[in-house]
């Protein structure tokens, strides 16, 4: 069982000027490696970074958030960080066009990381698309504790999988699913989950990827009475807990549902805490939900 509801106490993020060390392709994604003094040491699996984009002055005001994929504290430049970027909009495109040596403004480590089980129980790690990015660091931590780690990577198609080669080396087993069958089992990650859990007795499911996938993992875990921890991705304006844009309905330890910030109270939540069916709405039993139609309008 997970030992605590949450991971290590929040050491606090720092804002640093980083330097791009490498940008390389990996399938449809880019891996961005940068030096960021002080970040690597403080990072736990599941933490994320918020990076300013567009240079100064820019019309893009808001930072872009990325899971931390890998850190290296031994680097000559005082610690390096790697992220996986799906370059689809203007901010992410700007980021992957950086040249080696370019400065980037980074705030990290942010958010509550995955918590690790006290005992060496078998764990299943599930990543959807670039959502697998934080799972390799997590796999290393779990294996250091003697946990068996079964890894599942899923995506729409082969080029949208991330970390297949790495996964083979760092997990006890690797299962791949693609929607179109271009690699591995044709279908969804949830289609292979039951067999893996039956075969290896997994006690914790860790997931990162699209909301629908996370909801599916949480359901499987609940049905089996095991723990799930899911890293969610909500649009964030500040990433540090001051704006209230990144909320989703989460059940607190007092049983009350609140619109909860995913940047500071997440991005990792226990699967049974999140009201998956209500994400994108305010459930009527949520604390402070509008009581009437007229009470709802405000800005």
């Amino acid at each position: 069982m997970a030992s605590k509801r949450f991971g290590k106490p929040d050491a606090g993020p720092i804002q640093v000027r980083g330097e791009v060390l490498a940008v390389r392709r990996s399938g449809d994604y880019y891996v961005l490696v940068f030096a960021a003094p002080g970040v690597a040491e403080a990072t736990a699996p599941g933490n994320f970074v918020a990076i300013a984009v567009g240079g100064q002055p820019t019309a893009m005001l808001l930072r872009r958030c990325f899971s931390i994929h890998r850190v290296d504290t031994a680097g000559a430049l005082g610690g390096t960080v790697e992220i996986v970027v799906d370059a689809h909009g203007p901010g992410t495109k700007w980021l992957v066009e950086r040249a080696v040596g370019d400065p980037i403004d980074v705030i990290a480590p942010l958010g509550r990381p995955f918590s690790l089980p006290k005992d060496p129980v078998p764990c299943v790690l599930v990543g959807g698309g670039y959502g697998s990015a934080p799972l390799f660091m997590l796999a290393d931590r779990l294996r250091e504790r003697g946990c068996r780690v079964d890894l599942v990577l899923g995506a729409a198609t082969e080029s949208r999988l991330f970390g297949v080669v790495d996964g083979r080396r760092r997990a006890s087993s690797l299962t791949i699913t693609t929607d179109d069958g271009s690699l591995g089992t044709k279908g969804r990650v949830t289609d292979v989950l039951d067999r893996l859990l039956d075969d290896h007795g997994g006690q914790v499911i860790y997931g990162c990827g699209p909301m629908g996938m996370l909801a599916g993992l949480a359901k499987v875990a609940q049905e089996r009475g095991i723990v799930s921890q899911c890293a969610v991705e909500e649009a964030m304006a500040c990433g540090v807990g001051v704006c209230m844009t990144c909320v989703l309905p989460v059940i607190g330890s007092d049983g009350v549902t609140r619109m909860t910030r995913s940047c500071t109270d997440g991005p990792v939540f226990f699967g049974d805490q999140v009201r998956w069916d209500s994400v994108g709405t305010v459930p009527s039993d949520c604390l402070g939900a509008p009581v009437s139609a007229t009470g709802g309008a405000q800005r």
Binding site: G12, P13, Q15, A52, A59, M60, L61, L62, R63, D105, I107, E234, A235, A237, C238, G239, V240, G241, V242, C243, M244, T245, C246, V247, L248, R258, M259, T264, V279, G280, T281, V282, C286, L287, G288, A289, P290, T294, G295, G296, A297, Q298, R299
Partner: protein, 315 residues
């Protein structure tokens, strides 16, 4: 001449050591930003508008980035006044931060209740009254857009607030004549004016071909609205030469802040810029001090409204 500028800011009966404050809703209650800069060093923390009851706010998506700005429709999410007092206000007091408490209500009575509840709380430098919210008793008409509604709110808050605590009315730019509303608030007992709140905007997502925000419309903030905000400060300063003004809207650096001061603001709030740079309020304090020194000002107060001087009159 010394290049150390006296940065003290006068906002009605309070004097702040710095003219840079946070903006309501962009700093929560200060605690998160304290990791990035010393929140006791800035003028004051302006807290997220608080209501009587806990409030869930709107569904997501609550924000959309726009050119040099963003839209938000948070819907005044908050824990309600009791938890605010026992947790947030207490933290601010223990931390030693000057605090401006922003209050919001759906009716005149709700504003009065909030003022009454805060009346005997210690550690409140001023109240900011967010009248840019809909009046549930008047088909959702925004208080700040109607001089009579605005003035009833301010009147009620003034009546329930001790004389030692200044109250600032926070104005919306979405009106025909902002000086009119400003005058109504001052006549009703406002000691000062905060401006501007966000301006109403909308973005349509061209993939889903639906509004980008769950709330459909949202408040536009950031550098995109700065010229509008400077204009509002200018007009109100002209109409009301002696009323303290807390200016805001798109301030991202010291020169932006200086524009507001020169237009007539006595102090400024920094909002959206904090999302890009969490230490923006303190950085902007330092940049503003340097910009004033460069221009030969010995004190911030000397620069307030300086852009209104008559042609040919210089330092």
């Amino acid at each position: 001449m010394s290049n150390v500028v006296d940065m003290r800011a006068n906002l009605a009966s309070v004097t702040l050591p710095s003219p840079v404050l946070t903006a309501s809703g962009c700093a929560a209650a200060g605690r998160e930003l304290d990791k990035f800069f010393d929140v006791t060093a800035i003028g004051a923390v302006v807290t997220k508008s608080i209501m009587v009851q806990p409030r869930s706010g709107r569904p997501t998506p609550r924000m959309a980035e726009t050119p040099a700005g963003m839209l938000n429709s948070i819907g005044l999410q908050g824990p309600g006044i009791e938890e605010f007092i026992s947790k947030d206000l207490r933290w601010l007091r223990e931390r030693g931060a000057r605090t401006v408490v922003s209050i919001a209500g759906g009716s005149v009575n709700e504003f009065a209740e909030l003022a009454n509840r805060l009346r005997h709380e210690e550690g409140i430098a001023a109240l900011e009254v967010n009248i840019s919210c809909p009046n549930v008793e008047s088909r959702g008409q925004v208080f700040a857009c109607d001089p009579r509604a605005a003035s009833s709110v301010i009147h009620a808050v003034r009546r329930h607030t001790g004389a030692q605590t200044p109250i600032f009315a926070k104005l919306s730019p979405d009106v025909t004549d902002i000086a009119d509303i400003a005058q109504a608030c001052v006549s009703a007992g406002a000691d000062g004016l905060s401006m501007i709140n966000t301006t109403l905007g909308m973005v349509i997502n061209t993939d889903t071909m639906r509004p980008a925000l769950a709330g459909i419309t949202g408040g536009l903030s950031g550098p995109a609205i700065r010229p509008m905000a400077v204009r509002c400060v200018w007009q109100v300063r002209k109409a009301l030469p002696d009323v303290p003004i807390l200016g805001m809207g798109g301030i991202a650096n010291g020169l932006d802040a200086l524009q507001f001061i020169l237009a007539g603001a006595n102090a400024v709030s920094v909002g959206t810029a904090t999302f890009n740079d969490p230490s923006a309020p303190w950085r902007i304090h330092n940049e503003l001090a340097a910009a004033l020194a460069d221009r030969g000002f010995r004190s911030l107060a000397d620069a307030v409204g300086h852009a209104h001087r008559e042609e040919g009159v210089n330092l």
